[in-house]
């Protein structure tokens, strides 16, 4: 009896110790951290930090990705950016920005409703103005992603050594845009004075696509988002250690992983 109780206590203690390091997205040996604190940097200046979280409420429930706790010197932006993705293929189900009163400021979601092309539509609604709904019907076969879900989608891609260029329907603004991903392996990224071996994944937008197979030589493109995906051998997790974005005004933002919680 005593030995049984001791064993139970030991098991529970081990579980409690392991829990904080538990990884949520575990699929075909792919593991993603539960929480990451990112430093937000704009034009080489630290603005503050944000917390990126991954959660799942049940076996068949979607993954939920949240970016929140936007804090810096003297500011505290009380909004959460949430994206929900299918647990099977990580495709986007919904993406919304919600304030601390739990009011949605903006939302984009999938709905199985009749459209012109079929029975699946994406609806964008912005609550801060009187803008009408924007409905997007995607007929291309590429997975629909958004900025948050791309953290997971691209980490998974790198983790399974899928270096092939792939296309995605990236939700930006009010609708989706087809983007091309490219992977460069063994890119050393300097992180906290350590050179870390990463895979650089770039989401490119081509202004002119003439056909599905080959890009036109010299066709105009821009790098929309650049991810440096890192595999921490000690914990087995894959995650973007740095993300670089340029907004429509040409201003450069960086998210740099500061802490894995």
């Amino acid at each position: 009896m005593l030995i049984r109780n001791i064993s139970l206590i030991v098991i529970i203690t081990v579980m409690i110790l392991i829990f904080p390091y538990q990884v949520i997205a575990k699929q075909n040996n792919f593991s993603f951290p539960k929480s990451i604190v990112y430093k937000i940097i704009k034009q080489n200046r630290i603005l503050g930090s944000t917390l990126f979280r991954l959660s799942k409420k049940g076996e068949r429930k979607p993954y939920r990705l949240t970016m929140s706790d936007f804090k810096g010197f003297g500011f505290n932006l009380k909004v959460n950016w949430v994206s929900e993705i299918k647990s099977t293929d990580f495709s986007l189900i919904a993406s919304y920005i919600v304030n601390n009163k739990k009011q949605h400021l903006q939302e984009f979601y999938f709905k199985a409703e009749k459209g012109l092309l079929g029975n699946s539509i994406f609806i964008h609604k912005s609550m801060d103005d009187n803008s009408t709904k924007t409905i997007t019907e995607v007929a291309s076969p590429y997975t629909v992603i958004d900025f948050l879900s791309s953290f997971l989608v691209l980490s998974k891609k790198v983790s399974v050594s899928n270096d092939r260029p792939e296309r995605y329907n990236l939700f930006i603004g009010k609708t989706t845009y087809i983007v091309d991903s490219s992977v460069e392996k063994n890119i050393f990224y300097s992180h906290k004075n350590q050179q870390k071996n990463t895979s650089k994944v770039t989401l490119k937008y081509f202004f002119d696509i003439k056909d599905n197979s080959a890009k036109q030589k010299g066709s105009e493109s821009i790098d929309l988002v650049v991810f440096y995906i890192y595999n921490d051998i000690a914990t087995g997790v894959w995650y973007p250690i740095c993300i670089k974005i340029e907004d429509e005004n040409g201003e450069k933002y960086e998210l740099i992983a500061d802490k894995i919680l």
Partner: protein
């Protein structure tokens, strides 16, 4: 003594203005973050021309083009106005230029209706047929058209764009009371026109749609 006083005064001044400066900067940072959250990483417009044609709206209830209807012609005017407004903002938009025009004919609108309202065609085939049968022969990148649905006293107007490059359809929705949709022409009471609000709103929706390109 005076020098010290001046330094103290300067310090007081700086300290009193400091919260204002920081407050402003914090607001700016919050706004910048909101901009980032609102995903203002939209691709900038390319240098290439984007060829646009418009087709008269479709009535899904009857499965016909709205050529012979009063509302059809009036909506067309508002749509063309919206395309012109978008062209002013983005000169790479080319509307019905020589060699890049899909004629707004009964045959073309009916072809679009037959493809889109056929329940036996899947979405990928639908978009492929719209591209190969309508857009490629006309050398255009975007079709601007829409749906018009009457629901009792409500008029449901849905302007849409079909984008060849992205293989997608983007639609905006607007509902008007019938009394706020068709008004009498102030210059000729026997003629009907779109009420000012409806005309401007439809133009704006079309402009907004083209801004998503």
């Amino acid at each position: 003594m005076i020098k010290q006083l001046l330094i103290i005064l300067k310090l007081i001044l700086v300290l009193s203005v400091f919260p204002l400066i920081m407050g402003n900067e914090n607001c700016q940072i919050e706004q910048q973050l909101m901009d980032m959250l609102n995903q203002k990483i939209k691709p900038p417009k390319g240098k290439n021309s984007i060829y646009i044609s418009h087709l008269t709206f479709m009535d899904p209830t009857t499965g016909t083009a709205m050529f012979q209807t009063e509302a059809g012609a009036l909506i067309n005017d508002a749509v063309i106005n919206g395309i012109n407004q978008a062209q002013k903002v983005n000169p790479s938009f080319k509307h019905n230029v020589s060699g890049h025009t899909l004629d707004d004919t009964d045959a073309n609108v009916n072809k679009l209706i037959n493809i889109t309202f056929d329940p036996n065609i899947n979405k990928r085939d639908k978009i492929s047929r719209i591209i190969s049968e309508l857009m490629d022969p006309a050398n255009i990148d975007v079709i601007v058209t829409g749906q018009y649905i009457e629901k009792g006293q409500i008029v449901d107007v849905r302007p849409l764009i079909i984008v060849k490059k992205e293989k997608k359809i983007v639609t905006k929705m607007a509902e008007y009371k019938k009394t706020e949709f068709l008004c009498s022409d102030p210059n000729n009471q026997s003629n009907k026109v779109l009420c000012q609000g409806a005309h401007e709103h439809i133009s704006k929706l079309v402009k907004d749609l083209l801004e998503q390109l």
